[in-house]
């Protein structure tokens, strides 16, 4: 057992020092009839070779995004990650460190958290950001709870164009917290009409789940006039490089999925939630915060701060029960963002946008296919003749991963049956687009 350093002799000597005759003497508080006589019925230890073989066999059953023309988005995006990012996050001192409770020997973590907070505030156009949430969807549910704390109201109004998984995550937590969630019709524009002074917050996504980009300024004014908060969700962080940020449209809380910047797809997690707000709401914010201070010699240093909001001090009065963050994913984000800089981010965003336009043009030429969006960033929705899920399945059989059928996100919704949400990023080539258009033509 290669991970266990003690030898049988060591164990004997240690038991002698402790003054017990065998290991079970140390488990004496366990009721005797509950102590297992032997190990549970599972396989015995395996060598590295055997583990690689076993897990490798599972892995090859899956089709990796990089191995095919790939256009799947809807909340997670296939982007290129520079080799430097993965190398650096595997530095032992980052990978194997804990939450920075001892700041004197955790300045590496604390400084990148501070850099991350600065990057997120700048990207979203907000005043302050926390040191991350688990992901965008759980961040969104925390934002709704925060709006309830700020406004002392318990009703959230949610756009039907918010990613349904985000909506369901908010609904679950809110329902158990005895809060109310009202969902405004999908693809409708009647959100503003439902705002009144019982609403704590309005949650919208931009670009929305169908890819449409909207100006939220007028909505923000209506929300604020009713004394509520505007929560803006962004699932594609690369869009910050080209789309007017939520902070410039009047958002009070911005929640985003940061996976696009530095974090691999990984079948849905771990990802990293970005969370930013206005300074006046700082003390109602959930999650960890890194702050600047000085040490005993007056040198600049960083610590975790404002922890009186947190559960290890406030217990049942904490702003949230979130304890750890997505530290390592934060690091990946911060490194990738540092490599990009605003110049690189903007260029990357424009390449994404240009590729999406080229794809929309190509797919729009396929007989029977209609691109539904007026505006979009790197994702848009097409209507196909017939069942979108069938079409996506047939495309997969031809080796093209062609998008997400809207019916997968909105099950049972007849209006969505013929819609496919299609994403295109910098990894797509002219050949990929041509292959997609040709395959689509063939399966329709």
């Amino acid at each position: 057992m290669r991970y266990l350093p003690l030898t049988p002799d060591d164990r004997g000597e240690m038991l002698a020092r402790i003054g017990v005759k065998d290991i079970d003497a140390l488990f004496a508080d366990v009721p005797n009839d509950k102590l297992l006589a032997k190990a549970p019925d599972l396989p015995r230890h395996k060598s590295e070779i055997e583990v690689e073989r076993a897990l490798g066999r599972l892995a090859v059953k899956n089709i990796a995004a990089s191995s095919v023309p790939f256009f799947v988005g809807a909340g997670a995006y296939k982007h290129h990650i520079p080799a430097t990012v993965d190398h650096l996050i595997q530095r032992s001192e980052f990978l194997t460190s804990y939450t920075p409770y001892q700041p004197e020997i955790a300045q590496g973590t604390l400084q990148y958290l501070f850099e991350f907070q600065t990057q997120v505030a700048a990207l979203t156009g907000m005043d302050v950001a926390n040191a991350s949430m688990y992901d965008g969807s759980t961040g969104a549910s925390e934002a709704v709870l925060m709006a309830h704390r700020v406004t002392k109201r318990r009703k959230a109004l949610i756009s039907g164009n918010l990613h349904p998984h985000y909506r369901e995550t908010i609904e679950t937590v809110s329902r158990f917290a005895d809060d109310e969630v009202v969902v405004s019709t999908a693809r409708g524009n009647d959100l503003a009409a439902q705002i009144d002074n019982t609403v704590s917050c309005v949650v919208v996504q931009n670009p929305d789940v169908f890819g449409e980009v909207r100006d939220l300024t007028a909505l923000a004014e209506k929300v604020h006039a009713a004394g509520a908060l505007l929560i803006v969700v962004v699932t594609e962080a690369i869009s910050f490089g080209l789309v007017k940020p939520p902070g410039e449209m009047g958002a009070d809380i911005v929640v985003a999925e940061g996976q696009s910047i530095g974090v691999p797809l990984q079948f849905g997690g771990p990802y990293v939630g970005l969370f930013a707000t206005r300074t006046k709401f700082l003390r109602q914010m959930p999650g960890r915060l890194a702050g600047e201070t000085v040490d005993a010699e007056g040198k600049r240093g960083f610590v975790l701060t404002l922890s009186t909001r947190e559960q290890h001090i406030r217990r049942e009065k904490a702003t949230s029960n979130i304890c750890t963050n997505s530290g390592l994913c934060v690091l990946a984000f911060t490194i990738h963002m540092t490599l990009l800089g605003q110049t690189g981010l903007n260029r990357l965003a424009r390449v994404n946008h240009a590729n999406a336009i080229a794809l929309a043009d190509a797919l729009g030429m396929v007989p029977g296919v209609k691109v539904l969006n007026d505006t979009y960033f790197n994702e848009f929705t097409i209507r196909v003749p017939g069942d979108g899920a069938d079409v996506v399945e047939k495309l997969a059989d031809m080796g093209i991963l062609g998008g997400v059928p809207a019916s997968r996100l909105y099950p049972g919704n007849a209006d969505m049956k013929d819609l496919i949400i299609v994403a295109s990023t910098e990894v797509n080539t002219d050949d990929d687009r041509a292959a997609y258009a040709a395959a689509l033509k063939e399966v329709l």
Binding site: H45, E310, R347
Partner: protein, 521 residues
């Protein structure tokens, strides 16, 4: 000071002559500026071609103006982050005895497995027909977790321990509602992790605390006194945060069940009993498992974690979507409540299917250890903790007497009385000795608590050196050598940091310095 051979080494006098340097650097210890201070707006470390004939389909919603994010070239980025890493302590740096946090060896095989293209590079919403291996993996990990805990079902999606607590407590609330009842109270021992009361409060429960008895464990009589038809659940950590096994756990479970309430177990310390005791056999209804703690996935400066929750038969129907069902050896993903059949999912905890990247690491670790290795790991973790307890008990004080502990040894600060040294000072002096301090001031029920968890990763030699270092520090404190403590750490990248100042006037992001002219006004 003692060296590796246990002999005194040359003078470790902290007051060595100081030679200030021009840069503020000290050889390998480099002062590293923020990226915002060394980057430039026009620099990028990624080669991306300008798109040809760029046109916009953004309406009039293009971002204009400066974002305020400088870039660094690739070599500058590399150097910046490597230098930052050198200011961090990790388990690969040395012993990391953070009680309740469980810092054990992170095998690199796990990292290699997580990066297989068929694992790391698959999208949660690509057609299910293209990811059968991923679904199989989730099913298989779930089976292992059920087998190890003696529980019939598992909810895989929670993204961290605290998220798992939320899931488990929501399942309990859902089950109580499903039988047409409403209960408003959750019992939580005073020694519990802060996440427990925070979780209960988050979903609308009133928290009633249960005191510990003299020996540091929960008295079933105290639980019974607080039980009523209004109690929904008890949240109990076992082994508890004092490092002790709750020896009356079965009586507590029975009393809770007799009152129609549920038993939520905080699985943070499951690593002490894997392969030795099954929570299901103790009467547990729900327990989250911190995969990162128990089955070793990297903590990465505070996450990502993963918090699957095992569930009893009564709670199983309420597991959130999505979940994997295994029938006749075939794994199938149920994504929506409408497809859940007889089950009554409590809803969805997060977008997508949970922490796949952590599942694979945990599975890699579990396969490597096997059932025999996991049992041995628990025994070694407990042995190591007791070895530390037994080796320090003549110098340091134990709050609950000198009795066997589980995987962590808990000391209090009574032994420091009159020395002028506090728990915090002692911890900071450990930094100078090259160790990460133990968990301090937790559990809250013990004054000046010092919770030491060596884990199974440490060899006897490593423990002996650690013990020798702690003994030297303890004797030094008792001799009244307060300078060694009050000014510590002397040798860390930073001396003691002013946390009060950080909280009083928070600076949470970098802002450009004011131009000289403006600053003068």
């Amino acid at each position: 000071m003692l060296n590796r051979q246990g002999r005194p080494s040359a003078s470790g006098d902290a007051g060595a002559v100081d030679h200030p340097t021009f840069t503020g650097n000290r050889a390998l210890q480099v002062e590293e500026a923020l990226i915002f201070e060394i980057g430039r707006h026009e620099v990028t470390g990624v080669d991306i071609d300008e798109p040809k004939d760029f046109k916009s389909k953004l309406g009039a919603l293009e971002r204009t103006g400066d974002i305020g994010l400088p870039g660094l070239s690739e070599p500058e980025t590399m150097r910046h982050f490597v230098r930052l890493s050198q200011k961090n302590y990790g388990i690969d740096t040395g012993l990391f005895p953070l009680g309740s946090c469980t810092m054990k060896h992170n095998p690199r095989l796990n990292e290699k497995m997580a990066r297989l293209p068929g694992i790391g590079d698959i999208h949660p919403l690509q057609p299910l027909s293209t990811v059968p291996g991923a679904i199989e993996l989730i099913g298989e990990l779930g089976r292992w977790l059920c087998e190890l805990t003696g529980m019939p079902a598992v909810a895989m999606t929670p993204k961290a321990g605290a998220h798992g607590e939320l899931c488990g407590m929501m399942a309990i609330k859902a089950a109580i509602e499903a039988r047409g009842e409403k209960r408003s109270i959750v019992l939580v021992p005073e020694s519990a992790h802060g996440t427990n009361p925070a979780t209960a409060a988050l979903i609308g429960y009133q928290v009633v605390s249960v005191p510990a008895r003299e020996d540091g464990t929960v008295d079933p009589e105290e639980v019974k006194k607080r039980l009523s038809p209004d109690v929904a659940a008890i949240m109990l950590t076992n082994p508890n945060t004092c490092g002790l096994f709750e020896r009356d756990v079965v009586a507590i479970a029975d009393a809770v069940h007799a009152a129609g309430a549920f038993f939520y177990a905080d699985g943070a310390n499951f690593n002490a009993i894997v392969g030795k005791v099954r929570p299901g056999d103790l009467g547990v209804d729900a327990m989250h498992i911190n995969l990162h703690k128990t089955f070793s996935t990297p903590h990465g400066g505070g996450g990502p974690g993963a918090g699957p929750v095992v569930l009893s038969k009564a709670l199983a129907p309420f597991a959130p979507v999505p979940f994997v069902v295994v029938e006749d050896g075939n794994a199938r993903l149920v994504e929506n409540t409408s497809d859940a059949g007889d089950a009554q999912p409590l809803g969805r905890m997060c977008a997508f299917h949970g922490q796949m990247g952590m599942y694979i690491r945990a599975m890699s670790y579990m396969l490597s250890h096997g059932t025999d290795g996991m049992r041995q790991a628990s025994e070694d973790a407990v042995l190591n903790a007791n070895y530390i307890r037994a080796s320090l008990t003549d110098l340091m004080s134990l709050p609950f007497g000198n009795r066997a502990c589980m995987h962590e040894a808990l000391f209090d600060d009574t032994w420091l009385d009159g020395t002028g040294v506090t728990t915090l000072d002692f911890a900071k002096a450990m930094i100078d000795e090259g160790y990460h301090p133990m968990t301090m001031y937790f559990p809250l029920v013990v004054h000046g608590a010092m919770l030491i968890e060596p884990t199974e990763s440490e060899s006897k030699a490593s423990l002996d050196l650690f013990i020798a270092a702690l003994r030297d520090l303890a004797l030094s404190a008792k001799r009244g050598e307060t300078d060694r403590f009050s000014g510590a750490p002397y040798h860390a990248p930073r001396r003691r940091l002013d946390e009060t100042r950080a909280a009083r006037s928070p600076i949470l992001k970098w802002t450009p310095p004011k131009p000289v002219q403006e600053a003068a006004e």
